[in-house]
């Protein structure tokens, strides 16, 4: 059996005149936490619903555990647990009852893990779900999914409404599940969360995959920002891989330099700056925020970075 638990290729879906997915690709390998990033309306939830056989694709292919999610939905679902982004639980049932029902639907529940998770997420399971705040409702879905022994966790913006303490708990728990070999597809907006958890990320925009790879990979394809103050004027003109060069002089007549450099040009750039006599130097690697913003804003230079 292939090690790709999820394999999506050129997926297309339209709702009337709106194109939700326009050739989306996504591959999730066994045992990884895969961050699935994109702005609102990019098609994250639609992709997940097609993957769960809830919606039918108009084109392209989607494989889940090597099977067809539309035709074999029920069999495939026995191996996964799903947390939707926005679910209104049964209003008349308590949080604890909802957990039992959801967990039963997902598969066998691990009783000790259930108790432990309720404790760690600081959830009151005897309150009726209509009386919960948004964050507490989200905890119910999370506990139910995380308390099962599923091979694959599909989490659609699972931490919306959680406070930072609970966000921290969530990251620990997902980390532990990964140690145990669980695969996670994590659709998210929270960059810190993805940076902390994800082995690989896919960034999508307007129904297409803009970029996929490990964070290191992605960083390798993005520019670092270099700022320096040098004694002499550095000869930066025409250096390959260096762009956006700005120079000036400060009050004491030293040269201020600002430039952005491709990953493999950083070494040469610093060499040149060294020759000019470095006074101060900062090299800032691209943060996930930069990647995210660049991808969202439609910076096509990232396309094809795999």
């Amino acid at each position: 059996m292939s090690d790709h638990l999820i394999e999506i290729d050129g997926l297309r879906k339209t709702f009337g005149r709106t194109t939700a997915l326009d050739g989306l690709d996504l591959v999730v390998d066994r045992g990884e936490v895969h961050g699935f990033l994109g702005p609102n309306g990019a098609g994250k939830s639609t992709t997940i619903r097609i993957l769960l056989g809830l919606m039918r694709a108009d084109g392209g292919s989607a494989r889940l555990f090597g099977g067809d999610p539309w035709a074999d939905a029920v069999e495939l679902h026995s191996r996964l647990a799903y947390v939707p982004g926005d679910v209104t639980l049964w209003p008349g049932l308590t949080g604890g009852q909802c957990i039992d029902i959801l967990a039963r639907a997902h598969g066998q529940i691990d009783e000790s893990r259930r108790a432990e998770l309720i404790d760690r997420f600081d959830l009151d399971p005897s309150k009726r779900s209509r009386d919960y705040s948004k964050g507490n409702r989200q905890k119910v879905s999370l506990v139910a999914a995380l308390a099962t022994d599923s091979e694959l966790l599909v989490l659609d913006e699972p931490t919306s409404g959680l406070d930072p303490l609970m966000e921290e708990v969530f990251q620990q728990v997902v980390g532990e599940r990964r140690e145990q070999g669980t695969t996670v597809l994590l659709s998210s907006h929270i960059l810190g969360e993805v940076e902390a958890l994800a082995d690989r990320v896919s960034i999508i925009r307007a129904g297409r995959t803009v970029t996929t790879g490990t964070l290191t990979d992605l960083r390798r394809h993005t520019h670092s920002t270099v700022r320096a103050v040098t004694d002499q004027r550095p000869a930066l003109e025409g250096m390959p891989g260096v762009s956006d060069v700005e120079t000036g002089t400060d009050d004491e007549g030293r040269h201020e330099v600002h430039a952005s450099a491709e990953p493999d040009a950083v070494g040469r750039l610093v060499g040149v700056l060294h020759d000019a006599g470095i006074h101060t130097l900062t090299v800032t690697p691209p943060s996930l925020d930069d990647l995210f913003l660049q991808a969202y804003a439609g910076d096509e230079t990232l396309v094809g970075a795999r």
Binding site: T94, A105, G107
Partner: protein, 536 residues
């Protein structure tokens, strides 16, 4: 800044967000009166025909349903009687819907919290909601009165009737405003409002038949006590609904001042943190979701039917006391049992038809609940587990079918049991149970309609209620209006037979409804298997 600051703003917001529903209610109620008026005016076009109307009703039995309408020998009285059933439930439901919408519903969703944080006083939302709902029922009442005048009813009487109808609405605006302070959820506000409407309707029915002072205990009775089109018409009973409206609103404001935003006088309790073994099964979960509705509808239907049934002997007496009708029956030379049978079978058929309408309304509402499962993403979660779409829907529908059977059986037993006790004749139990069974195809056809809509046109689910309203109106008003049988048979409630107790059920009607209903259910399953969840 006073506690009522921002009433204008709040009224504007309530109007902007709710004007469609408000206008629809007003137009619908006036529209039904226009429809009634135009058909009656065409049918009863001479004073002689109008005078004969009362005799065609089968004496006083109709008072149970529509109250004791004064002046049944005038055109206005005929309008009022024909409109009676729509008014009895339409107006209270309108008042509940419009008042609950801008009070507890907006509060439950957190919208009021947002607005109260702005320059809006604590009482302003309640003032605005009461103002708008009250204006709407008064407008509807005046429109109904104007429609009656337009079809040549007595002008003063018509205005009096319209104001009486408005008064009934105002009482329910007040009751809903109070309920919205007492309980925390919109559903509960609706439950209280509807229960009070049914109770008021029943009390009026009993009082009207017995001609007792009990009618004064019911806001529905206050409308009748205006004696609108009678010789002893009077204005002063209008003071009762106005006083009740004012007192109830004062009570609502007082209660509002004593509680926090978002909370209620009745606080939620803690409950068990574990799901029982039964609740963890799909059937158990579906039953849990339907349980409250099934019990509520069954109890409400049984109460309604028990009141009707217990009046059986009084209905027979009332009819036999009528010299014209009594003489006619007596001349046949039949025994008292036969006379009772003759008088009661069409009346009992009408009661069973009302029960059938309750059962079908439950079916539409319960299957409509599947739409809420879908919108709330619970359906998505359940389908992402090891459950097929067909299995998911079949489980829910099984519960709906059982629920409908329970509501129908309990109602029929209540009617049959109380009628048998009243008449001291046990054969009525079996006869009415069989009669109720004859209405089963009406539930099948509506089940087919709603399941097909859920499978193929889920966003058009409101259509089901429109079909229900037309079918019920046709069955209720059609025969009185002398519409052709072909048109009457378009309503399932008449297609199964117009007097199932006396004349038996129509086999062809039952077969057609059942076959078409079953085919629609099957089509709905096919549609669900093919469509997106959630639908866009």
């Amino acid at each position: 800044m006073s506690a009522v600051h921002g009433v204008g703003t709040m009224t504007g917001i309530a109007w902007r967000t709710g004007w469609k529903g408000l206008v629809a209610w007003v137009v619908a109620l006036i529209g039904v009166m226009v429809l009634t008026g135009s058909s009656i005016a065409a049918l009863y076009d001479t004073p002689e025909k109008v005078a004969g109307y009362a005799a065609s009703l089968g004496g006083d039995a109709i008072a149970v349903l529509n109250g004791r309408i004064a002046g049944l020998d005038t055109l206005g009285g005929v309008f009022a009687n024909e409109f009676g059933f729509v008014m009895s439930f339409g107006v209270p439901v309108m008042a509940i819907a419009l008042t609950a919408r801008h009070t507890r519903r907006d509060e439950e969703t957190g919208r009021l919290e947002l607005l109260l944080a702005a320059r809006v006083g604590r009482y302003a939302p309640l003032v605005a909601a009461a103002l708008l709902a009250s204006a709407a029922v008064v407008l509807a009442g005046l429109g109904i009165g104007a429609a009656m005048v337009a079809f040549d009813a007595d002008a003063t009487g018509s205005v009096r009737y319209g104001l009486g109808v408005a008064g009934l609405g105002l009482v329910f605006v007040g009751l809903t405003a109070v309920a919205a302070q007492v309980v925390e959820h919109n559903r509960a506000v609706w439950g209280i409002g509807l229960a009070l409407a049914v109770a008021s309707y029943l009390v009026r029915g009993v009082g009207a038949l017995q001609e007792s002072a009990l009618v004064w205990a019911s806001p529905h009775g206050w409308v009748d006590e205006l004696r609108t089109f009678g010789d002893d018409a009077r204005w002063w009973p209008l003071a009762l609904p106005l006083a009740a409206w004012a007192l109830l609103l004062v009570l609502a404001f007082w209660l509002r001042g004593r509680r926090d935003v978002g909370s209620a006088l009745v606080q939620p309790r803690r409950a068990t943190p574990r799901a029982s073994r039964a609740l963890r099964t799909p059937v158990g979960l579906a039953w849990h979701q339907q349980r409250g509705a099934v019990i509520g509808w069954a109890v409400g239907g049984a109460a309604l039917m028990a009141v009707f049934g217990s009046l059986a002997q009084e209905i027979v007496d009332a009819v036999l006391d009528n010299p014209a009708l009594g003489g006619f029956l007596g001349a046949g030379g039949g025994s008292e049992e036969q006379a009772a049978e003759l008088v009661l079978s069409p009346v009992m058929s009408t009661f069973l038809m009302m029960l059938a309408m309750l059962v079908t309304a439950y079916v539409v509402m319960a299957v409509g609940g599947l739409r809420r499962e879908e919108e709330s993403a619970r359906m998505e979660v359940e389908l992402s587990s090891r459950r097929s779409r067909g299995g998911w829907m079949a489980t829910h529908l099984a519960i709906v079918v059982v629920g409908a059977a329970v509501i129908g059986a309990v109602g029929a037993l209540a009617l049959g049991g109380t009628a048998a006790a009243s008449l001291e004749d046990d054969s009525w139990v079996g006869e009415l149970l069989a009669g109720a069974a004859a209405y089963a195809p009406t539930a099948v056809i509506f089940l087919g309609l709603v399941v097909a809509l859920f499978g193929w046109l889920p966003r058009g689910f409101g259509l089901a209620w429109a079909v229900f309203a037309v079918a019920a109106l046709l069955a209720y008003l059609g025969p009185g209006l002398g519409l052709p049988d072909a048109l009457l048979d378009a309503s399932p409630y008449l297609a199964v037979g117009q007097d199932v107790v006396g004349e038996g059920a129509s086999a062809s009607g039952a077969v057609v409804l059942t076959v078409v209903g079953a085919a629609l259910v099957a089509a709905g399953f096919v549609g669900l298997r093919r469509r997106d969840v959630p639908v866009r």
